[in-house]
Symmetry: C2
Subunit: 201 residues, 2 copies
Amino acid sequence: MKLESILLGVLARHPSTGYDLKKYLDTHGRFLRSNTQMSQVYRSLGKMEASGWVIHTVQQRAGATDAKTYRITDEGMTVFLDWLTGPYSPPTRFQDPDFGTRLAFAGFMTREQLLRLIDIELTARHEQVARYRFRDRREAVDTSAAFDEDLATLVAEWSHEAGAQAIDAYLERLETLRRVLLDAPENAKAPDLLLLLRDAR
Amino acid sequence: MKLESILLGVLARHPSTGYDLKKYLDTHGRFLRSNTQMSQVYRSLGKMEASGWVIHTVQQRAGATDAKTYRITDEGMTVFLDWLTGPYSPPTRFQDPDFGTRLAFAGFMTREQLLRLIDIELTARHEQVARYRFRDRREAVDTSAAFDEDLATLVAEWSHEAGAQAIDAYLERLETLRRVLLDAPENAKAPDLLLLLRDAR
DNA sequence: CTTAGCCATTCCACTTGTGGCATGCATCGT
DNA sequence: ACGATGCATGCCACAAGTGGAATGGCTAAG
């Protein structure tokens, strides 16, 4: 479902071949998914076609393998939009791409839907910070093999600080986006929005 | 292999039941993996036992379900250490837990091994930044359905900036850790290391 | 001329992960 | 007294992802 959502999102913007989609995942979409296999893309495409979410037409390429251009169907569009604007439950790791994937297709949302999504993410992460930030991080030890406690402590401390800083920065940035979306006039165009974003930092 | 590596790492520090391991994944290990299912933990444990990487002993708990305490075998320790210090290829997304998972078990590494790992990560990410930072981010458009270009542009710009800032901060923090590891005297103890870390910020 | 890389798809055998169900006792708060 | 939560395991069907091989033409650089 997750790869499929991405593929549907791309196809909702323009028809593509399997190869194109793989290229998207390796370039523009590289933060949405790590190391996606060709085979996985083609298999998803096949499954989606069987479900009636996409259809393909064949492009002959003299000599070479025929290329199949996939386009999204109305049904596929419905499925995609249902996923995009449907319920979102934040994964444990804020670094996971679930939220970012939805953002990548923000253009298909209304400003209200986008704000709702952001609010869900924000409350979930704030709650997480509140629950864990000052929690004891020591772990029970009883190590048999060679284990460098000093090294482990250093790295654990660094990891915790790095994680805390990362999530704090993340929350701050998200709040900024939220602010811009709330403050911007209803009919603001892209250049003005970008200016607002710059000022809000 | 990935869940198994984590479980082996935990078991390398102390014996645990399946339930304990799941709890670890939900608390201390929450940044290593999102939403792990109980069934997945028990299945991995079963498979690892079949491979001879772990063994279990049964704890009777009057009335309640017996608890199985798993401990790592020598073979399991070898497998774990091979994974930990073996070749690491950075995933596309720097937010993926692969690197962090290894760091979580830094205590089982020597300082040199840890530094090698950090150097691999650092070069890979620097290279990524160099390749993509100033790349054109515009995507070909040909959207049929309702698509708010202005909203999409705003969010895309925000995402890019957020991503850039996140990876920059990440690189900086990693460099700091690297510095501390390089500069610290061979026999430095945890409190001194933490002081160095604090000063290095 | 040759090698490398891009374009393009498909198949296959696995391995992993998801989500839910079933069981059953103990403890703690209301 | 009741319900939630924690402890503890296991089974199942199904969905998704991994990693590699096979095929074959095109183009550009060395």
